[in-house]
C-alpha cells in the first residue's frame, strides 16, 4: 500500500462532514455556537528537517506550520498538543517551543512523550476557533475569480540552501516561518477559497483547483519573488514560505497588501496552467510528500 493508496483509504473512513481533508488540510467541527478548526502535522528527521539542525528551530517550525493551517481558515489558535519522540537536543527543543508559544500567544495544552529511534518523528495537533462563518476552504474557487498571494516565495528555499551549504547566508525564513494568523483572519470574510502555501505555489494552486473543480491559470512572472530572478522556476516549486494563496471574486481587492498572480477558469483538461499552458509531463510542481 503506497502513500496515495493509504490516503485514499483514510479518506474513505473520513466521512464525517468535519473531515474536509486529510494530509494537508484542517478539520472543521461545529460545536454549539462555535466552529473548531483542527489540524495535525508530523515532522520527520531527514525529511522535514536536516539531521543535526538546531532542535529549537525544529520546534518553532512544527508549531508554525500547524498554526499556518489555522491561519488559512481565519482561525484563532486555542492551543496545541505535542506528540514528542525523545532524542538529542530536547533542551533546545523546549527552548524553541517557549519562543514560538510566546511569539504567537499559543498555549501548550498537553501531549505525550515516547522513547523512540531514528529517524525521529514529532507530531503536533493545533486547535483553533473560527472567527468567520462559514469557515473558508480551498474548495471554493469559482471561474472568473482572481488568484492572489500575500507575499513573495523563495525566501525559505534560499534559507534552506544557505543552511545546507553552510554559506552563512540568512536562513531565518526556512528555520522560523511565521504563520499569517492576522492576515488569515482579515481575509476570511472575503475570500472564495484560501490555503497556505506549504509545498510550492504551483502545486498548491493545482490542489486548490482540483478541490474547487476549476482550472487555475498562474501568471508565472507575476508571482512576487524573494529569490534571484534566475531562480524563479525553482522558487515557484518550493514550499515552506507559508504565504496565503486565495481567490477573490473579480473587482474585489483584498483588505491587505497582496499580489494578484492568476485567474480562475472553468474546469479544463488540466487543473493548472502556467501562463495559459499546462505544465509539461514530469513537472512535479512542488514538494509532493512521499514522492
Amino acid at each position: 500500500m503506497n502513500e496515495f493508496a493509504l490516503i485514499e483509504a483514510l479518506r474513505g473512513l473520513a466521512t464525517h462532514p468535519a473531515a474536509r481533508g486529510l494530509a494537508d488540510d484542517c478539520a472543521v467541527l461545529e460545536l454549539g455556537a462555535e466552529a473548531l478548526v483542527l489540524t495535525h502535522d508530523t515532522m520527520v528527521e531527514g525529511v522535514h528537517w536536516l539531521a543535526g539542525q538546531d532542535m529549537a528551530d525544529v520546534a518553532w517550525k512544527l508549531v508554525a506550520v500547524n498554526l499556518s493551517d489555522l491561519a488559512a481558515k481565519g482561525a484563532e489558535p486555542l492551543g496545541v498538543l505535542l506528540g514528542h519522540m525523545l532524542g538529542d537536543g530536547d533542551a533546545r527543543f523546549v527552548d524553541g517551543l517557549r519562543e514560538v508559544f510566546h511569539a504567537f500567544g499559543v498555549p501548550l495544552l498537553g501531549g505525550d512523550t515516547v522513547a523512540g529511534g531514528a529517524p525521529r518523528a514529532i507530531g503536533l495537533t493545533a486547535i483553533g476557533r473560527a472567527t468567520h462563518r462559514p469557515v473558508p476552504a480551498r474548495s471554493g474557487a469559482r471561474a472568473g475569480d482572481e488568484v492572489w498571494i500575500t507575499g513573495p516565495v523563495g525566501a525559505a528555499m534560499m534559507g534552506f540552501e544557505a543552511l545546507r551549504d553552510g554559506t552563512g547566508g540568512n536562513s531565518t525564513a526556512y528555520r522560523r516561518p511565521r504563520p499569517l494568523l492576522a492576515e488569515g483572519r482579515a481575509l476570511a470574510p472575503f475570500v472564495s477559497a484560501i490555503m497556505d502555501v506549504s509545498d510550492g505555489v504551483l502545486l498548491d494552486a493545482s490542489r486548490m483547483a482540483a478541490a474547487s473543480g476549476v482550472t487555475i491559470d498562474i501568471a508565472g512572472a507575476d508571482v512576487p519573488l524573494a529569490a534571484p530572478e534566475d531562480r524563479r522556476a525553482d522558487a515557484l516549486r518550493w514550499g515552506d514560505d507559508y504565504q496565503l494563496l486565495f481567490t477573490l471574486p473579480q473587482r474585489l481587492t483584498p483588505p491587505l497588501a497582496a499580489h494578484r498572480i492568476g485567474t480562475v477558469r472553468p474546469h479544463g483538461g488540466a487543473p493548472l496552467l502556467i501562463d495559459g499552458v499546462p505544465p509539461p509531463d514530469g513537472d512535479r510542481l512542488g514538494y509532493a510528500h512521499g514522492a
Copy 2:
C-alpha cells in the same frame, strides 16, 4: 535531558489552565458553553506493540487508548486526528481503524501521513466534549473517600503473554481494549477523582494520590482479578486493562457495578500504601514510560 526532565520542562510551558497534565492526562478547554477534552497518545513499535503484530490491532488500540482518556473525563468523543508513519501493514491498519471507528461511533476528522523508518511511531489526537461540569480530574481525591475500580485487571497481561508466547490463548483484552465511555459518563457527576488505568492499578493509584495531595491505601486482595491468583502481584502492576479508577465520598455507591479496593487517607509519607504499608524501594508499581 532525560524524559523526566523533559516532561518537567514541558510542564513549565503548559501554564494554560486547560493544561491539566502532560504525558498521560487530558487537556480541558472551555469554549463558549462547551468544555472540550483533548488528548494525544503516540504508540511506538516495539514499545507499545510487538514487532510483527497485526496492524489492525495496533490501529484499534491506538484509538481505544485515546478514547479511554476521554472516558475518564466523562467526555463524549467528537473525533480523532491521525499522525501516521507509513510502513508495513498499512492496509490492515486501515481495516482496524474502520472497525474501531464503527465500534465506538467516532469519526476520523483528519491528520497527516509521513514517510518514516523504524521503529514506527503513530500518534493520535482525540477530541471530545464534556458531558458533566466541572470536568472530573485525577486530582480531586479527598481524605475519607473510598477508592473504586470498574472491573478486573490482568486480562491484558494474560493476553499479552499469550500473544508473545504464541500459546493460542485469548489475547483479545490486550489487542482490542474497550474504552469505558458509557461508564465514564455515568460516573462523572459523582466521582471526586477519576482516571483510566493504563499503566497498572498501583502506579496509577499512586499518581492519583500525588495529584490529589493525599495517600491512597489499596487493599491488594480486594482488587478484582482476570488472571490466576498466583499472578495477583503482577496483575496489579500491569496496565492496558483500561478500567476506570475513581474515588467517591464515603457512603456513596457508584451508579454501576464496581469494586471498592481502598481508601483515601490524609497525605502521609508515601502517596501509596498497599494493605497499609508503603511498597518497598524498587517496586516500580507498574509500567513507567522511559524507565
